[in-house]
Symmetry: C2
Subunit: 379 residues, 2 copies
């Protein structure tokens, strides 16, 4: 098989899934893993089989793929905009899965109100006919939650990443506005993305996350809305998760990557995903590999030591990355021309989204090929 | 249609193609555009219809897609490694197209020697039978170049980007080694990738490119090998191309992008590719768009002012980019929630490789959908 291609070590993958689930179980936390990392039905099943309480997705397209595969409890952890097409698609998914969405504005809340498998239009039509026909959809009229029921929302809170979300103290006000429009609110969520920082960044972000979520939940209670769900989580902050959360939504922990390795959230033995690459040149006394940004992704945060690392050469760093070249510097003799090396992408989520399939190995032997079923499902 | 999706303005695309071709024609340069930027058969046809002398590809997979679509003169501008599978695939492509490949080592040259549509193994088999049968393949036995002929090579030269390629003065030595193994050499090529630098970077790289190629061509001549092809080119260095080149291989010029805009290789009116994105939030008084790194790509060179720009708000900068969020700062009133804005990716090539299709507009009206036929063809 020609390089470059992405390989998943099933043993390490399974261990990563089990460890995170056990960690959550021990703390009485629900784990709702973010499947945007792998976009792969087989891996989602491993997560729910291990005990995950539903899954998290980033887009309606991902929700469709996983609902089609039988996943029945989905949270779209994103401030989706309620266009007509988005509403119709989410309504269709909600016919076969419980669907929660994120909101961070009253405008979005108003647009999502009344969206469900009964479909606003369909229900209006039935109502205009007669009550008997309307009885065909009894489950759509009683909430909250569950397949065939109305879509409900979590209020997104900014816990310090400063991307989307409202300040914690305004969560109650938005929840009241949403419920007044007819959109049920089940709780609050945040993404402490500032956990992607070296040094004390992970612990600080975990502290910010817990305090923002606790404040936001209080804000809901004061406004008379019960926060059934209090949801946070990111892979770097996971180990330092504070009290007050009821749910965590890590994604990258299934594979880990060079970012997690450098942040200290994992060791090299916990890395389940690598890109197999061929040494195509020794130009300039460096290693030139055929794994460029079109298979690794171009992610490089300012604190990263390079564009990716080599699993079997921990001292090596990818110093130049273009579309089909990764140039690595390392001490000692270079692996020979034509040999294969295992590259660890900086960011697993973007690498996986560049390929149609993952090659699965067990004890070094290829045992399966799994489709990246939701690859490219950006909307 | 739900955002995010990539849109190409056909009028601007056609103007970019025409302008570059005219520029090359005026200088007596052959233009062999790099199709890795668009991976799209329709755009490749526009380029050859305008007068391009063949096309450039980065991978065997791209060569296969374009050969299948009838393109019959392909240069794989990459130091391909000659695995058995690579040799067989390149041989198959060479049955229907002239194929040139890049080499930068004697080891790779030895591996590629004798590869062609006659296939080493097939020819050996035929020869071992009888001369009459061998006559069925007369066209495979006379070179150089052309479909149904042996694959030939260009020597890759490092002109200052320090990625792959040999020093110019060693090009002749490698050409002799290649020909001694039986791999025909047609000339030299380089990629002056250090043209991706602000200030004087573009002009300096163009100067380095010309001097390296002229030296390398001299080195071939001194070694008794005729440099029929002397090939360089990158979009930023194009306008400053020096003398001595016979061919240029720009890629990004068809679309342009935020990098080219910032380097000064294009103006905003020359940008043919944008990502249509929805304003999903005004969190923190900033614009939060649904176009993240899974549709724009994560490219951000140190000199870039952000992770991408907004075509209709030249002062705006994308200051945070995650997989499904682009957070932009801009002066003045924010475009309203739910409205659509046009985002210019930093790097067109990586953005296009993230989608299955491009929406084509003409005077603002959608006129076609073109497949990104070679998306994901990394090997």
């Amino acid at each position: 098989m020609q390089t470059p291609f992405l390989v998943v070590d099933r043993g390490i993958l399974a261990a990563n899934i089990e460890r995170a689930q056990r960690w959550a179980d021990d703390r009485g936390l629900r784990l709702r893993p973010h499947v945007k990392t792998h976009k792969c039905v087989e891996i989602g099943r491993m997560q729910t089989d291990a005990g995950a309480s539903g899954i998290t997705v980033a887009t309606i397209g991902e929700a469709e793929v996983f609902a089609d595969a039988g996943f029945d409890d989905l949270f779209v952890a994103y401030p989706l905009w309620p266009s007509d097409e988005a509403r119709a698609r989410v309504a269709a998914v909600s016919a076969r899965a419980r669907v929660l969405i994120g909101i961070d504005s009253a405008e979005a809340a108003a647009g999502w109100a009344g969206t469900g498998s009964h479909s606003t239009d369909l229900l209006a039509l039935k109502r205009s006919q007669n009550a008997v026909e309307c009885d065909q959809f009894p489950e759509t009229l009683s909430g909250p939650g569950g397949a065939g029921r109305e879509v409900r929302a979590l209020i997104e809170v900014d816990s310090g990443h400063h991307r989307s979300g409202v300040p914690a103290e305004l969560a109650g006000e938005l929840a009241v506005a949403a419920e007044a429009c007819g959109l049920g609110v089940e709780g609050v969520f945040t993404f402490p993305g500032h956990s992607y920082a070296p040094g004390e960044g992970r612990a600080k972000a975990a502290g910010d996350e817990a305090s923002a979520l606790v404040s936001a939940a209080d804000s809901l209670r004061e406004a008379g809305v019960q926060p059934w769900v209090i949801s946070g989580g990111s892979t770097p902050s996971l180990a330092a998760t504070g009290s007050g959360l009821k749910e965590s939504r890590p994604g990258v922990y299934v594979f880990n990557d060079a970012q997690q390795w450098e942040l200290g959230s994992c060791g090299p033995d916990d890395i389940a995903l690598t890109c197999h690459a061929t040494v195509v040149s020794h130009a300039g006394g460096r290693l030139v590999l055929d794994s460029g940004s079109k298979v690794l992704g171009a992610d490089r945060p300012p604190w990263a030591s390079g564009f990716g690392r080599l699993l079997d050469h921990p001292d090596a760093r990818i110093v130049i990355l273009s579309e089909h070249h990764a140039v690595a510097e390392l001490a000692g003799p270079l692996p020979p021309l034509g040999s294969t090396v295992r590259v660890v992408p900086n960011h697993a989520c973007n690498a996986v989204n560049l390929v149609d399939a993952l090659e699965i190995v067990e004890a070094g032997r290829r045992v399966a090929t799994w489709a990246v079923a939701a690859r490219g499902r950006n909307c």
